[in-house]
């Protein structure tokens, strides 16, 4: 079980594990890739500075799949992280679940931490896009990726989030608000909850049972629950794939073997250096994103692919306004099933795309997510406290049981 890519032996009692896609000065930060090899950053990510300033210590760099592009870390250059039963673990969530660190910072690029938190039955909160600085995140899809917090309970996750959240002038998309107060209300009375039927239809029964179980707890506490149709989800999934790959392709272009990281062998000229370095060091997921991303941005395809995806993103905003005037939050599965064996993801590309059906909505629109009790709760931008209220009510009920 390869939990960490780099482990820190010096620890105090306020411990945080950090995804290897987040830079920590002095520790190799590789995004799980061969391309970055032993790359040691010259500075700390903003979130890391904020943790140090408040007395936290870093337990190490959690194992992630290459650039965080895969399902559950199965494409890591440092070996896959498995549970005792041989299923995929998701390192950051596993670290929190087995108590090796109190918290983990995990980058939600394409839903990986949400799947991991679901499988490990821990809590994960990804706040509204722009709440937490992306300074020091090894970038793929800058318009969407956001650092979130894993912890055993939603209260603990919210505690750490309030420490790392707030404006950072080093990130041009960072929202102006300096401080965020994350507090849950006492009960779910009056909360209007929606469950999109399309999600339920795509998930295995074990997963949808969790959704209904969560809904029942909410109803018992005074919430209303209603199923509704969100037929746009397949468009959302396709548009997100285009945006994710286009931006990732662009951000991975800096790894060319010239300045740092992996350099290919025996190249006669600069063209060969580029080709050999990138061919030898990038894995399947990165290569797919590069090819697909180049295609959707190329002349002749920009209008029909990338630009259309941007328009879907804008139209979706209006759709979400409608949904969130009707519901305070949405309960949905975060993945299609509750255990993945490595053989499930041999063709990781297809598995990733299929699973993004459940996660793309929040990535493409930047809305906040709380994963709790094996389901994901989604709300409108800045509705974190409603999501936390629902999570706290659920956790209280389950513990009291």
């Amino acid at each position: 079980m390869k939990l960490y890519i780099t482990e820190n032996t010096k620890r105090n009692d306020k411990t945080v594990a950090v995804d290897d896609t987040i830079l920590v000065e002095g520790m190799p930060s590789t995004a799980g890739s061969k391309m970055l090899g032993e790359f040691k950053p010259l500075f700390d990510a903003e979130v890391i500075s904020r943790l140090y300033n408040t007395g936290f210590s870093i337990t190490g760099k959690s194992n992630v799949g290459e650039f965080g592009l895969d399902l559950l870390g199965e494409t890591s250059n440092y070996g896959v992280c498995l549970n005792a039963d041989g299923t995929l673990a998701g390192a950051a969530a596993a670290i929190v679940a087995n108590g090796d660190a109190e918290y983990a910072l995990s980058v939600d690029l394409n839903g990986t931490p949400r799947r991991a938190a679901t499988l490990q039955n821990v809590c994960f909160i990804k706040p509204t896009y722009g709440t937490v600085s992306r300074h020091g995140v090894i970038p793929c899809a800058c318009s969407a990726e956001q650092i979130g917090v894993m912890a055993k309970t939603s209260v603990k996750a919210a505690e750490l989030l309030s420490i790392i959240a707030g404006h950072d002038k080093k990130d041009g998309t960072s929202l102006p608000q300096m401080k965020y107060d994350y507090t849950a209300a006492d009960n779910a009375t009056g909360i209007r909850i929606g469950i999109p039927t399309e999600y339920i239809e795509k998930a295995e029964q074990t997963v949808s049972e969790k959704v209904y179980r969560f809904a029942d707890v909410m109803k018992a506490d005074g919430a209303t629950v209603e199923e509704f149709s969100l037929s746009e989800l397949s468009f959302v999934q396709a548009a997100w794939q285009i945006l994710l790959c286009a931006e990732t392709c662009n951000n991975l272009s800096r790894y060319d073997g010239v300045k740092f990281g992996y350099r290919g062998n025996n190249s006669k000229d600069i063209g060969e250096l580029y080709t050999s370095s990138r061919t030898e060091a990038f894995g399947l997921n990165a290569k797919f994103a590069i090819l697909y991303g180049s295609y959707v941005l190329s002349k002749g395809h920009y209008e029909s692919c990338y630009d259309k995806a941007l328009r879907i993103r804008r139209v979706l905003r209006n759709k979400l306004d409608g949904i969130f005037s009707q519901f305070d939050l949405i309960i949905a599965p975060a993945c299609s099933k509750l255990a993945y064996s490595p053989s499930d993801v041999v063709n990781s590309l297809e598995a990733c795309y299929n699973e993004s059906y459940f996660t793309a909505l929040s990535n493409i629109s930047g809305i906040p997510i709380v994963v709790c009790g094996g389901v994901q709760l989604m709300g409108d931008s800045f509705s974190e406290n409603k999501l936390l209220t629902a999570a706290t009510v659920y956790e209280r009920t389950e513990v009291g049981k």
Binding site: L23, A31, H135, V137, I138, G172, D256, S298, Y302
Partner: protein, 479 residues
């Protein structure tokens, strides 16, 4: 057949900001290789671009100077291509909504005045530089220039001759330098020009096949390149060969020829898309008005004012308004000196001859205008002689010295005490019988020699008028 040359220019100008466009590194020219770099501008992951607003200010300034419309919302976009001097393998530029569009610049040639249309002005980051090291036979990368802010000024294809191109470039350079948008030095690469050229039969409306030429680093190279390329196009048309294709060509100034770099088929696809890290910039009226208010009075306006209101000659006006620096010094100094005319003279005579002796140009003059004004005032009011003032000027320029202090320290104030001077005059007359004799024989010039020895005795600080008067009195008295 008679042919018409049709030319459009893309002029890159490095902006005169203190720091780079998306990080806080210095953008100063001439540092040791890779001294002005940080993780952001050498392409390391994790740093995010943060826009230097001064660069946008200067972009708007350029737009207002060239009568452009300023777009109220402007965006930054990414342009992807691989080259070792481009560390991110993308350049942040403005593709979808440039900061300025639809302007014009008036030029004047022998044929008269003409307005050259400006299609757009966009901001972008510069790339680094490759340096070949013969010693190790390797190519090294210098990222100092990476991220230095540029504007690219794209003209309409309105230019028809070398003369017009040179007039346009010189006018553009003068205006941008005057407003301190850029120092526009072709030889240092802070101004670079790509020439888009086609030819067509005279009178035809249809544009011919266009080629783009790069790598000219002087006005004369640009002129040569246009002449060569136009001749090449005309030959190709006349001979009916199919060698003329739309392509980018590199000018080689040594061989005097252009060479194909890449054509339409092999052209790179830059895969432009909006940079998600840089939110669109809203430029409101207030911002534009703030820049408008800060625009300098342009040379033509200044020249008119200097002649009509300040009474300068056209010649000295022309010399001063050729440099924004001289204008600034002049305008701050003359209210102190009390005489615009004298101040102008000091600048174009004494200051310029100092600069020439150091092989510097007018823009290099660094002097406290208040001290210069004070020095000139004291000279005008006869507190020091012009000779002494010249010597003090050097100290004011080189050491930023206070002229009054130097006068005190070195005893340079004018000696005009009549008793003292009379004694020296009498001694001089007694010591120079030959000159006195010559003077009395009608050689009035002989008086100069005696005057000189008196001035020498007074270390050059004697009041010339007092000496002159007393000397004449003594000579005439003893006749």
């Amino acid at each position: 057949m008679k042919y018409e040359i049709v030319i459009g220019l893309e002029v890159h100008v490095e902006l005169a900001t203190e720091s780079k466009i998306f990080c806080s590194c210095s953008s100063k020219f001439g540092a040791e290789p890779n001294d002005n770099v940080c993780p952001a501008c050498c392409g390391m992951p994790g740093m995010l671009p943060v826009t230097n607003e001064k660069a946008i200010d200067l972009g708007i300034t350029a737009g207002l100077l060239l009568n452009c419309h300023i777009n109220r919302v402007t965006t930054f976009d990414k342009k992807s291509y691989y080259y070792p001097d481009l560390p991110n393998a993308y350049q942040i530029t403005q593709w979808f909504s440039p900061v300025c569009v639809d302007g014009g610049l008036e030029i004047e040639t022998q044929a008269g005045k003409k307005v050259i249309g400006i299609k757009q002005i966009h901001l972008e980051e510069d790339a680094g530089k490759l340096v070949h090291d013969d010693w190790t036979d390797s190519t090294l990368v210098d990222f100092n220039r990476t991220g230095v802010p540029l504007v690219e000024i794209v003209s309409q294809p309105d230019l028809r001759s070398v003369e017009e191109v040179l007039a346009y470039l010189e006018r553009l350079r003068a205006v941008l330098r005057f407003a301190k948008v850029s120092d526009c030095r072709l030889e240092l690469g802070s101004m670079r020009c790509d020439v888009n050229l086609s030819v067509r039969p005279y009178g035809s409306e249809k544009l011919g096949v266009r080629t783009e030429m790069k790598n000219m680093n002087s006005l004369s190279a640009i002129a040569r390149a246009i002449e060569y390329e136009a001749a090449r196009h005309i030959d190709a048309i006349e001979l009916g060969t199919k060698t003329l294709i739309q392509e980018t060509r590199r000018w080689d100034d040594i061989s005097g020829k252009s060479f194909a770099m890449r054509n339409k088929e092999t052209a790179e696809d830059y895969r432009y898309f909006p940079d998600p890290n840089l939110v669109p910039i809203v430029i409101d009226e207030e911002w534009i008005e703030r820049i408008r208010a800060s625009l300098p009075e342009l040379p033509e306006k200044k020249a008119m004012r200097y002649v009509s209101e300040l009474g300068l000659t056209e010649e000295s006006t022309a010399l001063i308004t050729a440099s924004r620096n001289l204008c600034d010094i002049f305008e701050a100094a003359y209210p102190i000196s009390g005489s615009p005319r004298e101040t102008a003279n000091w600048l174009i005579m004494d200051c310029m001859s100092y600069l020439r002796s150091k092989q510097l140009s007018a823009d290099d003059l660094i002097i406290d205008p208040l001290k210069l004004g004070e020095l000139i005032r004291m000279t005008i009011e006869g507190e020091i002689t012009r000779n002494a003032a010249r010597r003090i000027l050097t100290a004011v320029i080189e050491q930023d010295a206070d002229p009054k202090k130097i006068i005190e320290e070195k005893g340079l104030s004018v000696q005009s005490d009549e008793g003292t001077i009379l004694a020296i005059v009498e001694r001089a007359v007694a010591d120079n019988p030959k000159s006195v004799q010559d003077y009395r024989n009608g050689k009035t010039k002989a008086m100069q020699a005696i005057f000189g020895s008196i001035m020498k005795e007074l270390k050059g600080n004697g009041d010339p008028q007092v000496i002159q008067r007393l000397l004449k009195e003594v000579l005439d008295r003893e006749e």
